[in-house]
Symmetry: C2
Subunit: 461 residues, 2 copies
Amino acid sequence: MSENAAPVVPPDSPTLVDDHLVEAVVDLVEAGHRGHVLNLVADLRPADLAALLQHLPADLARVVFRWLPEEVTSRALPELESAERVDLLDGLSTPELVALIDPLASDDQADVLADVDVTQAEDVLVQLEDAVDIEALLSYGEDTAGGLMATEVVAVPLTATVAEATEAVRSNADAVDPVFAVYAVDEENKLAGVIPLKRLLLSPADTPVHEVCEGDAVSVEPDLDQEEVARIMERYDLVALPVVSAGGRLLGRITIDDVMNVIREEAEEDLQRAVGITGEEELSSSIFAVSRGRLVWLLLGLCGAYVSGLVIVGFEEALTIAPVLALFIPIVMAMAGNAGIQSSAIAVQGLASGDLWRSDLARRIGKELGVALLNGVVLAVALAGIVVLSGFGDDTARLALTAAIALMIVIVLSTLVGATVPLALNRIGIDPALAMGPFITVSNDILGLTVFFLVATLLYL
Amino acid sequence: MSENAAPVVPPDSPTLVDDHLVEAVVDLVEAGHRGHVLNLVADLRPADLAALLQHLPADLARVVFRWLPEEVTSRALPELESAERVDLLDGLSTPELVALIDPLASDDQADVLADVDVTQAEDVLVQLEDAVDIEALLSYGEDTAGGLMATEVVAVPLTATVAEATEAVRSNADAVDPVFAVYAVDEENKLAGVIPLKRLLLSPADTPVHEVCEGDAVSVEPDLDQEEVARIMERYDLVALPVVSAGGRLLGRITIDDVMNVIREEAEEDLQRAVGITGEEELSSSIFAVSRGRLVWLLLGLCGAYVSGLVIVGFEEALTIAPVLALFIPIVMAMAGNAGIQSSAIAVQGLASGDLWRSDLARRIGKELGVALLNGVVLAVALAGIVVLSGFGDDTARLALTAAIALMIVIVLSTLVGATVPLALNRIGIDPALAMGPFITVSNDILGLTVFFLVATLLYL
């Protein structure tokens, strides 16, 4: 491209980082053109630089990371996935790490520090300016409000004026970014109210903040689960949420960007649970980590399926008398597993979103029963139709009737199992998402095959 | 509780609305105590009132909705689920609807209007103050940036001063809430820059806005898909995103709270796809809607499973010679289905989050092959062990070896099918999430059973 040609993608386009840029950077890095690479990535936003680094081959990413100025790589660090961060930071000296980590907000500092080699992390920590804050943050559980919050906030005494609050925003402008609100605290540093930035902007300078602050602010304590934090911010449309100690003292704030990651992560985790993946599989996870995460349920599934197999072998006599029954084994398994996983997924989603309450349970089960009966009838008729169309001689009618009745019962039972198991697990304090996926599929396979062969033995043999 | 007793739950607690409140309201409504109900719900935030209405029996919810003052129910309307809104608004007069809808932000007005009876909606629309804006919003696709945006923004000419911009925030204080930034536009109303509220607060009153505004603001066009909108706001940590016409003219803005809903909805949709639910099943969906959404894949699954059944019947001779082979039918089906759905879910998630690029594909498939080989070996050994422990007379060793080899091949093939089908679908422009769940399960069942019986015929018979 000549220097005069207008770029096809404007500089502010979110698609600026793509396969073509990755390829161009690979070529330039391999040719050792440091200057060109720096020019090419100079205007990238931190998140885009992180995306670029993540899509470069690992060795080249390390080269680029070390070529770039510290203030640029520092900003990109919080945007990287943990596995990549470990890789890129590996081998850096303690002073280099301190220089990279110090400019970040406290929550990001804690996150990045968690990816530094343990033996080095302590040396780095003590040299950070906010070492005390970071240490406190590292003491909270990763999946709690404390683990999400940053300690940097703009806070003023209740007795301050609007002008003083504005000045506080100014003096914290670098450390607290973005600012959404100023927090008013009493003499014991207890959160007393919230002053949205808009109100600060529109109020006369000499107004006392206690006259302009909102007193009924929502706040959370640091040990609250991050899913609950996300639900609260979503529910009340908050962009920042103050975190206070059990005694009400202001500890920090959680901003919406951190919570969006939580929502996506939790949703990905639920989906992974539903397909039988334990742990958290990421694109960057190692083959061994991926294998381990998938094997747990596959091995349990293997044992469960072996039991299903024993059920079939247990009805060997029936199969010897009427080998055609084998035709229905995959049908019963597919339908029992599928109907169960459908109803379990809906129950799990209702519980996860907080929309499903105990007072709804009776209505909920009643509805699932209605759906199961309706779907059972439709599927039974469809299966009977298929059997009649296929034709099995004189026995066709009896076979069709047997299959239809058995399938009907299987659908109703497996739908109800799927709908109730997550509710029961939730009741006794176990993550209901565990009930989705392989667990329901395998137990419904066993249940379905048993019911099918019992019905077939009664009606057909 | 006596009037002097302190409430157990403080008034700002997010758990204020729970089963107990619902029960109390039910009792009071049934007893006709309108005054008590109004007192009880007086301090609820709009989202909490909506939650309460959603958990009341439908007839009582309608009573409470009509008891409450218009300004209270108006604010709760956007927080309700669509099905509930339809129910609650049904039967209201046109003037009542206008009074409820007029105070809302334009994006919420459009959403609520979509739930008003069609014949009445037009009468309501023409009587709304912002009828022209709303009509424009209704013309955008529901799942696009245009469908998400509100037309209310604070915009000032590039030539304005900071004082004038502050005045613009003041005069729009009711219509635009919350305000995160003021948009600077040129003489053609084209977006020229963004002034974050913090900068407005900290800049001298007589500064021209063109000196304080950020020129490289990210913006989107109204036809952009909402998933892409969510990805951009998430990536760049934005709380508000301006929407501009193809020519660059400022049309409105999207705020983060709308996008959080999008992320949750899309995640729920992906999970529902994974378990074979078409459409969008909500807790409030009718039995018929739920049944329809689940039946599509169940019926397709029935047909697919019938093909699996034909495969088994096709190998009837093998089963007659060695009935023990039936034992492995559920195992092969469970393992093929499960391994395939695991790898497909990871591919779908990578594509959905935008983290999986074309340049990663070779690496991706290579890794899945590695995982499949590793898991295949472990599962094959486990199965051989189970067979040996169960003991099948003289044939035990040969049976164990046959089962192990067959399972190994099945795991590798089904993992690769699961990993590649979503990528292929994505390539040809079909939603890759369709590949998860029943599709992969059913096709892998057929593939797995065929491979198993072929291997068994070759090695065992």
